[in-house]
Amino acid sequence: MTLTQEFDTIAAISTPLGEGAIAIVRLSGTDALKIAQSVYKGKNLTQVASHTINYGHIFEEKRLVDEVMVSVMRAPKTFTREDIVEINTHGGIAVTQEILQLLLRNGARLAEPGEFTKRAFLNGRIDLAQAESVMDLIRAKTDKAANIAVKQLDGSLSKMINNIRQEILESLAQVEVNIDYPEYDDVETMTSQMLLEKTAHFEQLLENLLSTAKRGKILREGLKTAIIGRPNVGKSSLLNQLLREEKAIVTDIAGTTRDVITEFANIGGVPLELVDTAGIRETDDLVEAIGVERSKKALAEADLVLLVLDASNELTDKDLELLELSKNSNRIVLLNKTDLPEKIDSTQISGDFIRISALKNENLNAVEEKINQIFFAGEIEAKDATVLSNARHISIVEEALKALKEANSGLALGLPVDLIQVDVTRCWQLLGEITGEAAPDELITQLFSQFCLGK
């Protein structure tokens, strides 16, 4: 028997963490090609020749994540002697992490420290003499990973996870006690309805936690923001206000293939990554300069769209076209030039808008608040709020959530509580993997401290 069979397909970022020209996400295992193909558009990776590199794009459903080169190497002539796929990304931490997450969601498991090397050894790729060094490598990497994990696992996160686990544990103990002590009438019987309420509550807690994963990313990476509007509505003034000396950070991202200047504005603690500011500066007309197609693309890539309208003039067809174009984005409509008499018919604008004067720097704080509302449900204040940011943690929480959802669908089908418990227990165990080794016999200890039992 080869040990290979028992292994899942694993994935990890194989280049050092940090900004580089490119980064590589590597997959190894029987399903490597299948999993890569499930997030990739380009040639069919499951059919391309071995040891080829292929150009294409990574998509999350319909959203473009990155333009990539993908190396396909089939077993056995690979490092691990398993099928290997290496995805070369554009080097940003965010995008690389995102691709890794995507692969994990599609069936890969995050590799343990040293696991690629371990497989290489177990599959006979590395010879016996190297066994010792493989073991040292696993140990060293584990220690390092443990250190990193400890750093990443900040107090509030582990406290939160522990609280959720404890709540789940109490419910589990109640189900268990009904099973192991069926005749003890002092213990309320956990019905499907009660359990459903609990699991729905747990699901909400985990959903909240996962939503912080997105928030964490925004806080770290910034919001991709596009400013659009027809010429002379005041986009440049707005840009300049946003980029006021003390707030502006201008970076030139070297080594990327795109020769674009990206500028950051800090709005109420949220970094806005302003897309194609050069275009706005040069022409004051993004749409005309780059054409409707490119506008659409900019809109599609943006997390946030600021649509500027001239309040001192009536709405034009062009304005309406832009309103239509951006209606599905996270959009804030700005009625600019409130320093002049208002002529615009605001009843024609569906949804909210904010009146500002970019020139006079009036009411820009309302924009900050709005951004805050859209992305953080007004919670940006909590600077030390629990944020899920580690790839491993995110994938575990996602798994745990999946288990809870299975519990809920089982409950909906009317399956007995003790079967549902299988999935709830799994959820509880998974969460334990974030905070570290679960204590032995945790559940049984809980059982006997929570209830008075005995003959």
């Binding site: 371990k118 099973i179 192991d180 003890y184 080794e437 559940l443 049984i444 005995g454």
Partner: protein
């Protein structure tokens, strides 16, 4: 050595572990001696008069499927039978019987006495005789000086090993129920070098049935629908005139009496030193730990058909006897009750179970096995299950055959033994369903399917049992096949019938099995559509079919996990493994590995404090060997 007699297997102790161990060894063809301190206490039930219950009931079925005796014996001697957890899922249903204590013990003693190859004898074993290198057991010596030669010895001494009974301020040397305490053997085990622990358990007072006012209690009758522990028992023999139990409660007054005397409770005064079980606390422990509970349930359980003794389940205590008198009278229904025996606590020596291999053979002495309460468990069923495994392995060893180890995915008995030898235990160990990670697979309705074949292979399952099992499985297969081929078609009369039963119409034809997959559909409803089977289908087969089909998805998920675990289980660690050679491993893991000496990668991975990286390193090391 001058031996009086020579045996293949000698079993020390005639309790629930000892009888299963000796019967198994004898039935497998080993010449076996069962030594007991008191011949009147073979298969004696020193505590509650019941067999089975949650998890434990499944163990009894497992013992039966493997060819053991407990299930058959209780089916002959119960006074009440009850299926527990009927309102829950299939995985946790469990049978419990109230036993006629005397009849149970008598019947088992007769089975043992009548067993070919098995000698039953009274005597107290004081010493194990080892070979010159002290590595292997070769015989035993009794308190009278008689020596017996043995190729294998199984110690099943229960609470007798340096037993001490405690009632209030009183503490005296005694085995269960005032039998003799075994002190010589306890000393001998220490001398040999075993790590010995000290545990505590207890039992409640017994009262005179005719002095109980049952009107003040609630009746707890048995089931009318037949059920048995043994797969061989038939419904025609199901007991009609069952004897009920009765439910009552402690009162505020009971708690006041206890609180007023806590300073005299041996549990708190420091007299009790052994570690007691959390799951079976005494009443003085309960009112202290759960002080806000106004009352505790008590079950009045008759100890038999021909005895007046009634066991007060829930009132385990070691309070002084005068407190027990008052305590009993403070309970509704027991105001005028006459106490026949006081409750007591008992402390005893335990061979800490991490010193055992999964076969229950000690790592220190070849051929020496221990089972039951000696290994730190509690409960008749846990004892019997281990006794069976120890008996089978002793016989196999004597016969030079390969070992018998039940996996965690095969039996609750496997879960228990793996827990004991891998994790050890710090308190008396009781089986709970929550200890089993694969409980959807370890059900009471499929215990025969899981284990009969295994029992047959080791030579314990009789021809009769084997044929019975095969006939049942053949019927199961035929009916499954029929359910998978006969179809419900979307015809008007079918739709109408579905509507009448409260089901929605069907779009496409579906098989009986597919219909049965709906949680709300039962076998009988499927038969309404696809017709009766050409043969009479046994109710136990129907139960099995319903479970296997309705919960197929969950069972499959569990089986996938089992498969993964098996691959780790298949990876064996060499016996003479030098853990110091693994430099890269964490210190804590190395210490644990040295202590437990896991036999497979699977077992190694279950040791607490061992992390996945340690297992990875071990895996790499083993591959490199």
């Amino acid at each position: 050595m001058n031996f009086q007699e020579n045996y293949d297997v000698v079993v020390i102790g005639g309790g629930h572990a000892g009888v299963e161990a000796s019967l198994a060894a004898a039935r497998m063809g080993s010449k076996t001696l069962l030594m007991t301190i008191n011949l009147n206490m073979v298969a004696f039930m020193p505590c509650n008069p019941s067999i089975g219950g949650s998890a434990k009931g499944i163990v009894v079925r497992e013992i039966d499927a493997l060819g053991g005796e407990m299930g058959r014996n209780i089916d002959k001697t119960y006074i009440q039978m009850k299926m527990l957890n009927t309102g829950k899922g299939p995985a946790v249903r469990a049978l419990r019987a109230q036993a006629d204590k005397d009849e149970y013990a008598d019947s088992m003693k007769n089975t043992v006495s009548d067993q070919e190859n098995l000698t039953l004898r009274q005597g107290m074993v004081e010493e194990l005789i080892l070979d010159e290198e002290k590595k292997k057991v070769i015989g035993i010596k009794t308190s009278t000086g008689t020596k017996y030669g043995a190729k294998a010895v199984i110690i099943t001494t229960g609470t007798a090993l340096r037993g001490e009974i405690i009632i209030g301020e009183l503490k005296y040397s005694s085995g269960p129920n005032n039998s003799l305490s075994s002190i010589g053997l306890a000393d001998n085990l220490r001398e040999i070098g075993f790590e010995i622990g000290r545990f505590k358990t207890g039992t409640p007072p017994r009262v005179l049935a005719s002095s109980i006012d049952y009107d003040k209690t609630e009746i707890q009758p048995g089931d009318e629908a037949p059920n048995h522990f043994s797969f061989m028992s038939s419904d025609e023999n199901y007991l009609k005139d069952q004897i009920p139990c009765w439910l009552t409660y402690t009162t505020e007054n009971s708690h006041t009496i206890l609180r007023g005397n806590l300073h005299r409770a041996p549990l708190f005064s420091g007299i009790v030193k052994g570690v007691g079980p959390r799951y079976c606390p005494s009443i003085e422990d309960k009112i202290t730990r759960f002080a806000d509970k106004p009352r505790h349930q008590l079950f009045l359980e008759p100890e038999g058909r021909n005895t007046e003794e009634v066991y007060i389940g829930g009132l385990s205590t070691s309070m002084p006897e005068d407190v027990q008198f008052d305590l009993v009278k403070s309970i509704p229904g027991l105001e005028n009750a006459q106490m026949m025996r006081p409750g007591y606590a008992i402390e005893y020596d335990v061979v800490m179970p991490h010193q055992l291999r999964p076969t229950l053979e000690t790592k220190l002495v070849s051929g020496l096995f221990t089972a039951g309460q000696t290994n730190g468990t509690s409960g008749y069923e846990e004892a019997a299950g281990q006794g069976l495994v120890a008996g089978i392995n002793a016989a196999l060893k004597v016969q030079g055959k390969s070992e018998f180890i039940l996996k965690r995915s095969e039996a609750y008995i496997g879960v228990m033994i793996d827990d004991l030898v891998t994790k050890g235990t710090l308190e008396p160990y009781r089986l709970l369903t929550s200890r089993a990670e694969y409980r959807l697979i370890l059900r009471h309705d499929n215990a025969d399917r899981r284990l009969t074949e295994i029992g047959r292979q080791v030579g314990l399952v009789s021809d009769e049992q084997w044929e019975h099992y095969q006939a049942k499985m053949a019927q199961f297969d035929r009916e499954m096949k029929r359910l998978n081929s006969e179809k419900l078609k979307p015809l008007p009369d079918t739709q109408e019938k579905l509507g009448k039963l409260g089901f929605g119409p069907i779009k496409d034809a579906l098989t009986g099995a597919e219909f049965l997959k709906r949680p709300e559909v039962h076998y009988n409803e499927v038969i309404d559509f696809i017709g009766q089977a050409p043969e009479k289908i046994d109710r136990t087969v129907i139960e099995l079919i319903e479970t296997e089909i309705t919960y197929e998805g969950y069972i499959k998920k569990a089986m996938d996990q089992v498969d993964k675990m098996h691959r780790l289980e298949a990876k064996r660690i060499p016996k003479n493994m030098d853990w110091d050679k693994l430099d890269s491993i964490a210190t804590e893991a190395r210490q644990k590995f040295k202590k437990i000496n896991p036999e497979t990668l699977g077992q190694a991975s279950r040791i607490s404090g061992v992390n996945p990286a340690d297992i990875s390193i071990l895996m790499v090391y083993l591959e490199g060997k």
